[in-house]
């Protein structure tokens, strides 16, 4: 599975007269669909930059001559979005790092070793991906509440609780996906290192880890998304505004009769940008990673 930059036409190569026309139609169709697909994102950024008067106009225009950062300023100043943004970033970073380390170790165990119950464990990771997380929020709420009486740093209204649950729910997929990347690395490299006298620890961290790193980057996108996009845990566990994260905090802008669309779009833009950056950085590995996750 190649990256997107590998261009190789499939199908009959000879392009004749009518083929040329149909190809042009195909090109135009693709461009139109691409524009329709990005339009909501364009509209989001545009609306975030529009002055209030233009947003609340019943005559919306797909451009603006008076771009302003007022909506962003309000989001950070009045609504305290800087704090929510930071909370989200802390939770997501911790989840990405821990999930990467833990899933790497587990993926190595599941690809490089043959042991009893290996298949059972793999099937369990698969099944775990289908469990409706929102329903599990019910027992998790009580669990987090009880944890709070023992370890206050992980109880209700703490970032610790969000780190724990998001870590748990990002692991099954991360392990499953990373397994494909570990599998793709020839075992002969480790054999060679072993013959040269390297111990297991060295093989794991000095040989295997750097080789799996690109896969780890792709996997981390999904862990990042799990934590960054999490709405239901944040909404349920975080009962004060100080520790709220972005998705649930966004609801602040929704008012019963008149929504502050400028604020909502500015906050949405802020929330989308980190994910977009992450996606573009690792897009090369995404497809091969998913391929590896689902099939050899």
């Amino acid at each position: 599975m190649n990256s997107t930059s590998a261009v190789r036409p499939v199908g009959p190569r000879r392009v004749r007269g009518d083929r040329k026309v149909s190809r042009r139609i195909a090109n135009i169709t693709a461009i139109v669909i691409a524009l329709v697909t990005v339009f909501p994102l364009y509209w989001m950024v545009l609306s975030a930059l529009k002055p209030d008067g233009e947003i609340n106009s019943v005559d919306p225009r797909p451009w603006t001559w008076h771009p302003t950062l007022d909506n962003f300023r309000d989001a950070f100043g009045v609504s305290g979005f800087g704090g929510y943004f930071l909370n989200s970033l802390i939770v997501a970073t911790v989840v990405v790092v821990l999930s990467g380390l833990v899933s790497f170790l587990a993926a190595v165990a599941l690809t490089r070793f043959h042991f009893k119950f290996r298949t059972t464990i793999l099937v369990m990771f698969l099944v775990a991906q289908m469990v409706p997380v929102e329903a599990l929020t019910i027992p998790l709420f009580f669990l987090v509440r009880d944890i709070g009486t023992v370890a206050p740093g992980f109880g209700l209204s703490t970032l610790g609780s969000l780190m724990l649950v998001n870590l748990a729910f990002s692991l099954p997929f991360a392990i499953w996906m990373l397994r494909g990347f570990v599998k793709a690395i020839p075992e002969s490299l480790e054999e060679a290192a072993r013959i040269d006298g390297a111990n297991r620890f060295t093989i794991l961290w000095r040989i295997l880890f750097p080789l799996v790193a690109p896969g780890l980057a792709a996997t981390s996108v999904f862990s990042f998304i799990t934590a960054w996009n999490d709405f239901v845990f944040a909404k349920t566990f975080i009962l004060d505004t100080d520790h709220q994260t972005l998705p649930a905090a966004l609801m602040v802008f929704f008012k019963p009769d008149e929504n502050d669309w400028g604020g909502i779009m500015a906050a949405s833009t802020l929330m989308t940008i980190p994910v977009l950056i992450f996606f573009v950085l690792v897009q090369r590995h995404l497809v091969s990673g998913l391929g590896g996750a689902v099939k050899d």
């Binding site: 947003i55 289908m130 329903a135 009580f142 609801m251």
Partner: protein
């Protein structure tokens, strides 16, 4: 799980090996039999058993208890009521309504996602480099957009008074969320917008991985486009297709954020509830935690059936578990 009893199928790629199940690989077994894998799996187990396994068990347990507000906040002892919650649920018309509309909504989303994704994957193979890059990056953007922000943007686009869509269509004042199925359709559009890129990119990568020589050979043998597609490409793509279909079913059956945000927690008088949101609302809005848990258990069982098909499909396609 069942053993590999699936009969060999004629149209299956010949490469799918029949593996002996169970037991260690004989050649390396001696050196490999160690405690190493258990140490490596320990961190994952330390997180997943208390935070995934235990809550799952608690979910099942809750569904057999009478657990409401007094038990949740005053610490009253919950009474064991057997299958009472389930019989309450199965006797409730609203539950059946929600179940049916969840299935219809998920099925429509799955079909639309697959049709759009597959059509665009084929389109990608027939266009020039720049349109292709443009479409791939546009799809990447839709894929990356968080469910939350996707929901808010589409809500704004379809806003009753200030939305662009109503202005373009000259329907200002029309509320898309007022009518049940128009609200569902709108949420469905957002779900498809979020999920078609995964299908498109996976299938495109699959098509790209078919060796040109194979297609060339089919053409030289005089196969028509349709025959080539039906008898050459489809069998090769089947494993990817299966995975994409089942992943879509699992995702779309569990849609939560889009419904919750766009319809304000389940729509007017709960007309847009799906099972996931229904379970959440029963528990946290009505404080009927055990009933919510019972809905969660039923959902898990339904998805378990889908997953069993998934695992069988993976096995059939030669995936080494």
């Amino acid at each position: 799980m069942t053993t590999t009893t699936t009969p060999a199928r004629a149209d299956r790629p010949a490469s799918a090996p029949v593996r002996p199940r169970g037991g260690a690989k004989k050649t390396t077994a001696g050196r490999r039999r160690s405690w190493m894998p258990f140490w490596l799996l320990l961190p994952a187990a330390a997180i997943l058993i208390p935070l995934f396994g235990y809550p799952l068990y608690q979910l099942g347990l809750l569904s057999f208890l009478d657990f409401g507000q007094p038990q949740a906040s005053a610490g009253e002892v919950a009474e064991f009521v057997g299958f009472d919650n389930y019989s309450t649920l199965l006797g409730d018309d609203q539950f059946w309504d929600v179940l049916v509309q969840t299935v219809i909504f998920a099925a429509a989303c799955v079909v639309a996602t697959l049709v759009v994704g597959a059509a665009l994957a084929v389109l990608l193979t027939r266009i020039g480099k720049w349109p292709r890059l443009l479409l791939l990056f546009a799809a990447l953007g839709a894929w990356a957009a968080p469910a939350m922000t996707g929901s808010t943007v589409w809500m704004f686009l379809f806003d009753t008074n200030l939305g662009l869509v109503n202005e373009v269509l000259g329907m200002q004042g029309h509320n898309w969320f007022y009518e049940k199925w128009s609200a569902f359709a709108l949420v469905g559009v957002v779900v498809v917008w979020h999920s078609f890129p995964f299908v498109m990119i996976s299938l495109y990568a699959g098509i790209e991985s078919i060796p040109v020589s194979v297609l060339e050979a089919a053409r030289l043998d005089g196969a028509s486009t349709w025959t080539t597609f039906r008898h050459v490409m489809l069998p090769i793509l089947r494993p990817i297709l299966t995975i994409v279909v089942i992943q879509s079913i699992i995702w779309d059956f569990k849609v939560f954020t889009q419904i919750y945000v766009m319809t304000g927690g389940g729509g007017i008088a709960g007309q847009n509830l799906v099972l996931n949101v229904y379970a959440y609302q029963k528990a946290f809005a009505s404080s009927d935690y055990s009933l919510g848990a019972a809905i969660g258990v039923l959902m898990t069982l339904i998805l378990l059936v889908v997953t069993i098909f998934y695992i069988r499909a993976l096995r059939r396609s030669g995936e080494e578990l």
